[in-house]
């Protein structure tokens, strides 16, 4: 099981190729994404080595040549999938994982919202409150999935009745849990533990989602109709490529216009949606702006409680987010400088 793979050596080779530590991090991120999709380690290494050759030849960064780690990993995955080189485990992932991933991410967001509310409201909450994000997240996503499945098979009245019963049951259980834990307040620690819970749940959801991506690729790539193609294509452009909604709409409109004139489907005209989306690359400027804005909001949220008095913990967290924002800007600035030199 613990068979050694040459991936670490290849990652080191990336760092040495141009003397850039960032290149090694890029290679590591690509390998991590592919390994999480259960792609064979030797195949991952092969993909990394192919890219490394071009990095050495051109002297350009792997991000400039191949896009972000997410984009390149998805491109390799699709290529190997179409060549039939992936093991079955990498292609077939149970659908239940998709629900679990979405539920965990939803729970993470709910925990984060509760963290913000707790910071602003400053109420004293009991230990049982930590179960609430999980209950709400899984209930929401599970409810939607149940509705989608049951509404095709059952009469609407039956579906609504079942969902109402489930909602009442979940609410009653939650009340019992909260009652049982009344008087177990964690005091000032509560909001920070909620933030920690949010981070853990969201990260867990992301990890599971990476596994699920394999299934999505398998489902959509074979022979999507135009609407499936547009959904997947738009999703990749908005997600992995960080393109704006306006830009995505324009690209899709143009693709539809072209396909209408040629008389072919979008899949026939443009190929697999993921591969085509990747040709547009990542909107690095937009990604940087949004990430910095996100960190700025987190810093602001941390500074609000400081109105009541100085706190070293709050200051440390605010400084951490500021540092993250600065790192984002530095990465962007470096890639921009390299692009200017190249042109």
């Amino acid at each position: 099981m613990a068979e050694e793979t040459p991936i670490p050596a290849t990652v080191d080779a990336y760092e040495q190729a141009r003397g850039e530590e960032l290149d090694g991090r890029w290679a590591f991120a690509v390998s991590w994404r592919l390994l999480m999709k259960e792609v064979d380690a030797r195949l991952v290494d092969e993909g990394l080595r192919e890219a490394l050759e071009l990095v050495r030849e051109t002297g350009e960064s792997p991000e400039e040549l191949f896009g972000s780690p997410g984009v390149y990993a998805a491109e390799l995955f699709e290529k190997w999938r179409s060549e039939g080189r992936l093991n079955p485990a990498a292609v077939k992932v149970p659908a239940a994982r998709s629900l679990i991933a979405s539920s965990l991410k939803a729970s993470g967001w709910i925990a984060f919202i509760m963290f913000v509310l707790e910071l602003v409201g400053g109420r004293d909450l009991q230990v049982g409150i930590f179960a609430l994000p999980l209950v709400l997240g899984f209930a929401t996503i599970g409810g939607v999935a149940f509705w989608e499945w049951a509404s095709r098979a059952w009469a609407t009245a039956l579906v609504v009745s079942a969902m109402t019963a489930a909602t009442v049951g979940i609410a009653a259980t939650t009340v019992v849990v909260l009652e049982a834990t009344s008087g177990t307040s964690l005091g000032a620690l509560t909001p920070w533990l909620l933030l920690l819970e949010a981070a853990v749940l969201w990260s867990a959801g992301t990890v599971v989602l990476i596994l699920v991506t394999a299934k999505t690729f398998g489902e959509v790539q074979d022979d999507p109709d135009d609407e499936q193609w547009v959904r997947r294509f738009s999703g990749v452009l908005r997600g992995a490529a960080w393109q704006s909604d306006a830009r995505v709409r324009e690209i899709v409109r143009e693709a539809r216009s072209h396909a209408a004139e040629s008389g072919r489907t979008l899949a026939e005209e443009f190929g697999p949606p993921d591969s085509y989306a990747m040709t547009y690359g990542v909107d690095v400027r937009r990604r940087t702006t949004l990430k910095i804005a996100f960190y700025a909001v987190l810093v602001a949220l941390n500074l609000v409680p400081m109105v009541d008095g100085f706190s070293w913990a709050t200051t440390a967290v605010a400084l951490f987010f500021t540092w993250q924002a600065w790192k984002e800007y530095r990465t962007y600035d470096r890639s921009r400088s390299r692009a200017q030199v190249a042109s």
Partner: protein, 114 residues
């Protein structure tokens, strides 16, 4: 359905940016019309998946500009037009291609080594 190209694929790929720029010399065209113009000139009928990344790259470089025109009952078309930068690039790159051709011709005639 797809016309075969007159030249090997790697050559077509290498000359594609220039061919797209050349197709716009006489005026603005939308994507599908560019594909047809390229096909008429022996580049094969390119699919959208090969053409639009090139157009996107040329647009980002400022070699072409694009604007929407409303279609009659259709989804509308995005028309591309050559910019001054694009014309300069076309002229410059065509010069380089000619030079390459001349070099290859000279080489193929052979040189006598004593």
């Amino acid at each position: 359905m797809t016309d075969p190209a007159r030249w090997p694929t790697p050559w077509v790929r290498a000359a594609l940016d220039l061919a797209v720029l050349a197709s716009l010399v006489e005026g603005r065209l939308h994507g599908y019309a560019i594909a047809q113009a390229l096909a008429e000139h022996g580049f094969g009928l390119l699919k959208g998946g090969s053409l639009y990344p090139v157009l996107n790259r040329l647009e980002e470089a400022g070699d072409v500009e694009a604007a929407w025109t409303e279609g009659q009952g259709g989804p509308g078309r995005r028309e591309y037009e050559l910019t001054a930068t694009g014309r300069d690039r076309l002229e410059r790159d065509l010069g380089s291609w000619r030079e390459l051709g001349e070099t290859l011709t000279t080489m193929s005639r052979g040189t006598t080594h004593g």
